[in-house]
């Protein structure tokens, strides 16, 4: 289904599934999981994208919408959605692989780093992103991230948004007017 909000979308099912299964990635401890948290809290084995591509995309996702309170699992979950979409959409797969290859070569030329995510300072990585920000690769990733990241229930919890309320009786007895500092 195409979304008409002006971004190149993943399927709605894709991002809704991602949001509903917040814990999904944590459980995804596939043998040979190539992307994982150092402490083993989560791991993600891309099926279509190259593992290095996925790793760079996770860093790029964080640099685009940086929240120091979010674990990498949240960004990796968005990238897992790309991996799903790439499996059935060769043009999208190429957009990501080529886009990441470009990021890596800019990382090498500009900062002597082996890949984008190995550039140490955020400010330096941002200079790379700013240079490609108007291009189709960045636009596709950014416009999807802004939906998939902020539609994630784990994110809602961290940001203090309580989500669905009718099933809890609304806020009539749950603090709709509890503000006392004005």
């Amino acid at each position: 289904m195409t979304h008409s909000m002006g971004y190149t979308p993943l399927s709605r099912r894709g991002f809704l599934r991602g949001s509903a299964a917040t814990a999904g990635l944590v459980a995804m401890t596939l043998a040979g999981g190539l992307l994982s948290a150092p402490n083993g809290a989560w791991a993600f084995a891309p099926k279509t994208l190259k593992p290095e591509t996925a790793r760079v995309l996770v860093q790029m996702a964080r640099d685009t919408y940086p929240h120091d309170r979010f674990s990498d699992a949240i960004y990796a979950q968005a990238v897992a959605g790309y991996d799903d979409k790439a499996a059935t959409d060769a043009a999208f797969q190429a957009l990501l692989e080529d886009g990441v290859a470009d990021l890596n070569s800019r990382a090498k030329d500009g900062f002597g780093a082996g890949s984008y995510d190995r550039v140490g300072w955020e400010e330096n990585r941002l200079s790379i992103l700013r240079a490609i920000a108007e291009g189709p690769f960045f636009q596709a990733v950014r416009s999807d991230l802004v939906v998939s990241i902020y539609n994630n229930h784990a994110v809602w919890e961290i940001l203090g948004y309580e989500g669905s309320s009718a099933d809890k009786g609304g806020y009539i007895d749950r603090g709709f007017n509890d503000l006392d500092w004005v």
Partner: protein, 523 residues
């Protein structure tokens, strides 16, 4: 029971669209004993189908058929295929709407006279006055159960309102309260009172908010005189050699086309689809589209001068808790050109959940400036600006030269340029809004650009003279006696107020007129 009418029954009034205009008109006609068929493009969903989830709800009920945009408005850049945020479902945008229900001010029915010439603006006085509208405003407020009218108490203020009120007091604003809302503050009309759920935009799960879906249409259906046919998208209005409307062609959910005959046809598809339908109904006799001898069909598109101001505070606000829009400041709604613009604007409380806040706070932006704002979501308060925008002939719904929908009909393009008056008004409102929040200790404020249009107006405007507009003072088209326009596209000008109360009042008035004319056999 809803009455199923035969396709060949040419005694029925056919209404296109079941929202604020169409749903009200259909119900009113049925209550007068007139056989009425409402054809609605969207599906029929009920309260149990509503979901407290912004994107999921959007996917279920928003109008997502492809549209294009042009012009210098920022929506065209940020949401090129989503000029408007409106509903495709039985009940129309009264499922989404927030319930703010305000009467127009007297001078807003005569802006050409009051404001004088404004360069580039196609201002025109309404062929109607506030005095004539008052009895219908009374009826509409009673029907919709508007708070602060008919002895109905105001809603309680939520956290977002408390911040607004404190700031309004500091700035010396006098007219700040919890609004005139078509939301039950106490049980009324077989519907309960507001549970402060906070997802007013996603369809009210408690039914406290007025919507044609459950507060009007079932009453019409009970008479046995109203049939609402969902999944029925009207493609074209037909006419005979004498230039009278004879019926409409629509596609059912499987794409099969049917001709529903009609004695009277009323168009209420909201201000993008209504003119599109008239233009797409062009014939040899009416090569420029139906009812378009003035050339004004689709023109003078208005969407209100909008924008939002969000403020971040040191302590939590939780603005999303409770009624979304039960908070208003009306001091700036006055006519006072000393501010550098004609027309006025309202401030109304507004909140978005995290998903929509991310999409709308500053579309397209990224990096820490944006994400740090999102980090402070729980400490944010928000309000919406809604002000009168200038009608301009070139702000228009036109048929796309090449792109067609699945039925082979040209899709609509929405062109909009901000008028200098709109820009001056928005800048004033941004400044006042930021000052208001600063006065309560905001650590940051954001001038958020307009969202895709929720108020769509003026594209079949009402005029005294046939050469200036599309319909007369009853919403009857100047060119075709049995063709009416019954939605917000009738508006001659937009006023500072949210439009729905006026749309409903006009529909009640139009129902009286149609019934009278049918009784006299002059229709």
């Amino acid at each position: 029971m809803s009455a199923p009418y035969d396709l060949n029954d040419d005694s029925v009034v056919v209404i296109i669209g079941s929202g604020a205009g169409g749903g009200t008109l259909g119900t009113e006609l049925a209550l007068k004993g007139i056989d009425t068929v409402i054809l609605e493009a969207g599906a029929r969903q009920e309260i149990e189908d509503f979901v407290n989830d912004e994107w999921e709800s959007f996917g279920k009920i928003a109008w997502l058929d492809k549209r294009t945009t042009s012009g210098t408005w920022r929506v065209s850049k940020d949401f090129p295929n989503l000029p408007a945020w409106i509903v495709k479902a039985v009940g129309g945008s009264t499922i989404h709407w927030a319930g703010a229900s305000l009467r127009f001010q007297e001078h807003e029915f005569k802006t050409a006279t009051t404001y004088g010439p404004v360069e580039g603006a196609n201002l025109l006085d309404w062929p109607l006055t506030l005095k004539e509208m008052e009895p219908y405003y009374d009826k509409a407020e009673f029907k919709m159960g508007v708070t602060r009218t008919n002895d109905i108490p105001g809603l309680p203020g939520n956290n977002n309102f408390k911040v607004m009120k404190a700031g309004a007091d500091k700035l010396g604003y006098k007219e700040c309260h919890t609004g005139r809302m078509a939301i039950n503050s106490q049980p009324r009309d077989d519907r309960g009172s507001c549970q402060q759920i906070g997802f007013c935009f996603q369809g009210c799960k408690s039914g406290a908010k007025w919507s044609t879906l459950y507060a009007e249409i079932p009453k019409g259906e009970e008479t046995g005189k109203l049939e609402v046919r969902p999944n029925s998208q009207v493609l074209r209005i037909e006419h005979d050699a004498k230039g009278k409307a004879t019926g409409v062609v629509y596609a059912d959910k499987d794409g099969n086309q049917h001709l529903q005959k009609a004695r009277v046809v009323c168009v209420a598809g909201n201000s993008i689809e209504s003119p599109r339908l008239l233009l797409n109904s062009a014939s040899a006799q009416f090569p420029d589209g139906l009812a378009n001898s003035s050339g004004q069909v689709g023109r003078n598109y208005m969407r209100h001068t909008t924008g939002s101001v969000y403020g971040v505070f040191e302590k939590p606000v939780h603005m999303y808790r409770g009624t979304t829009m039960a908070g208003i400041i009306q001091d700036e709604a006055r006519f006072d050109p000393s501010r550098g613009f004609v027309g006025g604007y309202e401030f109304e409380t507004l909140s978005l959940g995290v998903p929509f806040m991310a999409a709308f706070l500053d579309p397209g932006s990224w990096g820490r400036s944006f994400s740090s704002a999102m980090d402070d979501y729980a400490n944010m308060a928000g309000m919406w600006i809604v002000g009168e925008d200038m009608p301009q002939e070139s702000n228009a719904i036109t048929l796309h030269p090449t792109e067609v929908d699945p039925f082979g009909l040209p899709i609509p393009n929405v062109n909009y340029d901000d008028h200098a008056n709109d820009v001056a008004m928005r800048d004033h409102a941004y400044r006042q809004g930021a000052a208001l929040y600063d006065a309560v200790g905001a650590v940051r404020t954001f001038p958020t650009p307009p969202y895709p249009s929720t108020h769509n107006l003026g594209t079949n405007r009402m005029s005294e003279k046939p050469r200036d507009g599309v319909v007369n003072r009853w919403g009857q088209t100047h060119d075709i006696a049995n063709l009416f326009v019954s939605d917000g596209s009738q508006f001659t000008t937009g006023a500072a107020e949210n439009p729905t109360l006026t749309i409903v009042a006009l529909a009640i008035r139009q129902a009286d007129h149609i019934a009278e004319r049918m009784g006299q056999k002059t229709l």
